[in-house]
């Protein structure tokens, strides 16, 4: 049905290959032979979603169970969306081409706050009621996970179940429970209550919120006995034995990251105070060299990819990085497979690593000092010194590199105009370093790109109480950097302050924002992460119509004793630790990383990973 309708519209849209499925390694099952059908929805385009590792892991994991058929769904781009609406085609899954409304589970991964409107729009395109309370039957269960699920409140009224933490186990437990409930003819309410008993499951409908007169939260309470007050995250502690796909669906059309990806460890030892991922994924858990090597080789063989990316939050912090690269190059060179290492830190960049990565292909270098001065880098606990950065650049220039990209954030807590100016000055120092390099490529100039985004305070970080700079302040800081640049060898670009503002609103929003999202969806808003679609004016209109002040969420300084909208979610890192980190930031004091010294953040209770590395080596 959908297929024949599609044939008539596909040649009218850009890149129709995104909408037809049929890729190598896509999983096709017989729908009559499975008990549970799961529509894995990525609330962005095919090119973005197909690049996402979490989706690949869960897609393969679910499909490894004979009774589940998991399929992929992406947000159609606006040209396709228009054609689908015009031709009465509902949102469909790529494997079976069946409408999403026929699925038992509709799962979203929440990677980015500005994709919330896409979540709603995808439900709308599926002709599924948006609100959880309007979906009464035990079908079309809307579930969501991913980093943004750490503060589920802004979309709590649309989602039946949130998965908190690593999904590999908890997702399957909930699917299995659903299968049982369906067999026994249980109601959706009964199923949701039973699900809430599983660790790592948050069912927002089972909680009520009361507010103070000033709009802050007065109380957050379970509505029924037996519903947990705190929802603890799930963690996969044994990474070597955690499920990892042997196969990726290989897209026929080009996507953003068109390569094999291997996760080498989860978590980050560093504890940069702005970085949400650094706190959500504690403790650090590594895979062994042998495990990574085998998984990489299998993936390349099964997909035909000739590039593999070693993924993590900070790849050079992998304890066995050099032995790993040696092991990988034993076969990768012969098989014409190149290795890439994203997320390199400036202090982890050595000749050894450099030579292994460029043995096949050479690209530009990217570093993220995040702040322009040492003082501010200490405030955010980005323990990178300027001389380390410049030394690294020197190594890179000696090694033949000529382009360097530096990422910064502006609007960080305690930031002054001198700190901002420091960004431009650092760029200049990198240019000077190039001319100090004796082995620099002759006859070539150096190109330094400075890139700044605006700081967005996030839940579960030491800065979760901080106000975001106003849009005007951000603009004046951007102008200050531009004014302080003196050479064309440096180019400066910056992330739009308007979208960062909206991101800040939803990152730390509460349940009152559900009405805002609903209104935005009614007005046809979606793809807010895309400048083609984002309209700040329209958003301000929506806030106004809903009687909601967005600045209450983005620009307000919260006190340590305020009940935060996400306080019922527990990511193992204690609030006391976050408070002490926040106080240390204001004293320009750094905190050593997990391998130097344990700072007692709370993640140790999982009894493994980096917290116990030393014990292991002592045995």
């Amino acid at each position: 049905m959908i297929k024949s309708k599609l044939e008539k519209i596909l040649l009218k849209v850009q890149k129709p290959g995104k909408y037809v499925g049929g890729e190598l390694n896509a999983v096709i099952k017989n729908k009559d032979e499975v008990d549970v059908r799961f529509a894995f929805c990525f609330p962005d385009t095919y090119e973005i979603g197909m690049s996402h590792l979490g989706m690949k892991i869960l897609y393969s994991l679910f499909n490894s169970k004979p009774y589940i058929w998991c399929e992929r769904v992406f947000a159609p781009w606006i040209d396709m969306e228009e054609q689908m609406i015009k031709n009465d085609i509902p949102l469909y899954a790529l494997e079976s081409m069946d409408p999403v409304s026929e699925f038992d589970f509709i799962g979203f991964t929440l990677q980015y706050e500005l994709s919330y409107t896409n979540v709603l729009n995808m439900l709308k395109l599926s002709n599924i009621p948006l609100k959880s309370s309007d979906r009464k039957e035990l079908t079309n269960i809307v579930v969501a996970g991913g980093p943004c699920a750490c503060n589920p409140e802004p979309i709590a009224e649309f989602v039946d179940i949130f998965f908190i933490g690593d999904g590999e186990e908890v997702d399957l437990e909930v699917i299995e429970l659903f299968r049982e409930c369906k067999k026994q003819g249980k109601t959706k309410d009964e199923f949701l209550y039973l699900a809430s008993q599983i660790k790592g499951v948050y069912v927002p409908a089972l909680y009520s919120v009361e507010y103070n007169e000033d709009g802050t939260i007065k109380a957050f309470t379970p509505k029924r006995d037996g519903v947990p007050e705190k929802i603890e995250k799930r963690v996969m502690m044994d990474m070597d034995n955690s499920y990892y796909p042997q196969n990726f669906v290989v897209p026929n059309v080009e996507i953003v990251h068109d390569r094999a990806v291997e996760e080498i460890f989860r978590g980050c030892i560093r504890g940069c105070r702005f970085c949400q991922a650094g706190f959500l994924y504690r403790p650090v858990r590594e895979k062994s060299v042998d495990c990574i090597n085998e998984q990489c080789h299998t993936l390349c063989r099964n997909t035909g990819y000739d590039e593999i990316s070693l993924s993590s939050l900070s790849s050079s912090d992998y304890t066995q990085i050099v032995p790993l690269l040696e092991k990988l190059t034993e076969w990768s060179v012969d098989e014409n497979v190149s290795l890439s290492l994203p997320s390199l830190r400036v202090d982890g960049f050595s000749d050894d690593i450099l030579s292994k990565i460029k043995s096949v292909r050479k690209s530009g270098l990217t570093f993220a000092p995040e702040a322009g001065t040492q003082r501010l880098r200490d405030v955010i606990n980005k323990n990178v010194r300027e001389d380390e950065l410049l030394d690294t650049c020197l190594v890179a220039f000696d090694g033949g590199y000529t382009t360097v990209k530096l990422y910064f954030m502006i609007g960080l807590p305690t930031e002054t105009m001198d700190d901002v100016k420091g960004i431009a000055e650092l760029g200049q120092k990198v240019v000077n370093t190039f001319y100090k390099s004796e082995n620099r490529p002759k006859g070539k100039g150096v190109k330094v790109t400075l890139s700044s985004s605006s700081f967005v305070p996030k839940p579960f970080t030491p800065f979760q109480w901080e106000p975001q700079d106003s849009i005007e302040t951000i603009h004046s800081k951007q102008a200050h950097i531009r004014e302080n640049l003196t050479t064309k060898k440096i180019s400066y670009n910056y992330h739009d302050a308007d979208t960062s503002f909206l991101e800040a609103v939803f990152a730390r929003g509460d349940r009152k924002l559900n009405a805002v999202l609903l209104k935005a969806c009614e007005k046809g808003m979606r793809f807010d992460g895309w400048s083609d679609c984002f309209s700040f004016e329209k958003w301000m209109e929506v806030f106004d119509e809903c009687g909601i002040d967005p600045h209450f969420y983005a620009n307000r300084h919260r006190s340590f004793d305020e009940i935060l909208p996400w306080d019922h979610i527990d990511y193992s890192v204690t609030k006391e630790f976050l408070i002490s980190e926040c106080k240390k930031a204001y004293e320009n004091q750094t905190t050593p990383h997990c391998r130097e010294k344990c700072s007692n953040c709370g993640a140790m209770k999982h009894k493994g990973g980096v917290c116990f590395e030393k014990c292991k080596s002592m045995v």
Binding site: K8, P16, V20, E23, L24, N252, V253, G304, Y305, D306
Partner: protein, 219 residues
């Protein structure tokens, strides 16, 4: 080292991928197959492949071909076919591997089968419109060239086109210039129909075969 010509069909989901995407898909299939294919030795090492004649996005292809070099002279051609087929997505299938007899430059024409239908008007009406169009003294359409948009008359190219109607669509079979010198895209006829009658014709086009200057199948 020997040159081989890989003959394949492009259909189903793979109908909707562009020539650049096809190139990428083939390179990955070769990489996955572990066949001893000669790689370029430049900065960006990859299997060296060339396609005889690109196919427009959306078209089906029944006799497409791609050339590559095999490092092992003793490798059986059937093995190449089987190994590639194991590594290709649905919609791309190799049906033969041969030693190339002609250079891709020998391609002179291509044969197309077009299925036309229209939601707004009946098949009979569409058929009458098509006949009217083909019987006109000239069929002027805009053709995109490197130098910009040019008006050309495609009457001559479609004068031998055969067409007939079925219950739900119209089939047109036509041989058009193709190759390195002149290319006439069959969708030009659709554009002419749309423009003349103010309709929106839906098309499903298959490139059935390609020929040399003597009208023999390209080998």
């Amino acid at each position: 080292m020997k040159n081989v010509r890989v003959w394949f069909k492009k259909d189903d989901a793979c109908r909707y991928i562009s020539h650049l995407d096809l190139n990428r898909v083939m390179i990955r299939a070769i990489q996955k197959s572990r066949l001893p294919v000669w790689h370029t030795e430049g900065f960006n090492v990859h299997p060296y492949i060339t396609f005889s004649l690109p196919l427009s996005l959306g078209f089906r292809g029944e006799r497409e071909s791609m050339d590559m070099r095999i490092l092992d002279d003793n490798l059986k051609l059937d093995v190449i076919k089987d190994e590639l087929n194991k590594c290709l997505p649905n919609g791309l299938s190799v049906f033969d591997v041969t030693e190339p007899k002609q250079k891709p430059g020998a391609i002179n024409t291509a044969k197309f089968k077009m299925r036309l239908s229209c939601d707004n008007i009946s098949v009979e009406e569409l058929y009458a419109n098509l006949q009217n169009l083909l019987n006109a003294d000239e069929i002027l359409v805009d053709k995109k060239t490197k130098k910009g948009i040019k008006k050309i008359d495609i009457k001559e190219y479609f004068k031998d086109a055969k067409h007939y109607d079925t219950d739900h669509d119209i089939v047109v079979r036509v041989i058009l210039p193709a190759g390195s010198t002149t290319n006439i895209n069959p969708t030009l006829l659709i554009n002419a129909l749309n423009e003349k009658y103010g309709i929106e014709v839906y098309y499903d086009i298959t490139r059935v075969d390609v020929f040399d200057a003597e009208g023999k199948s390209f080998e």
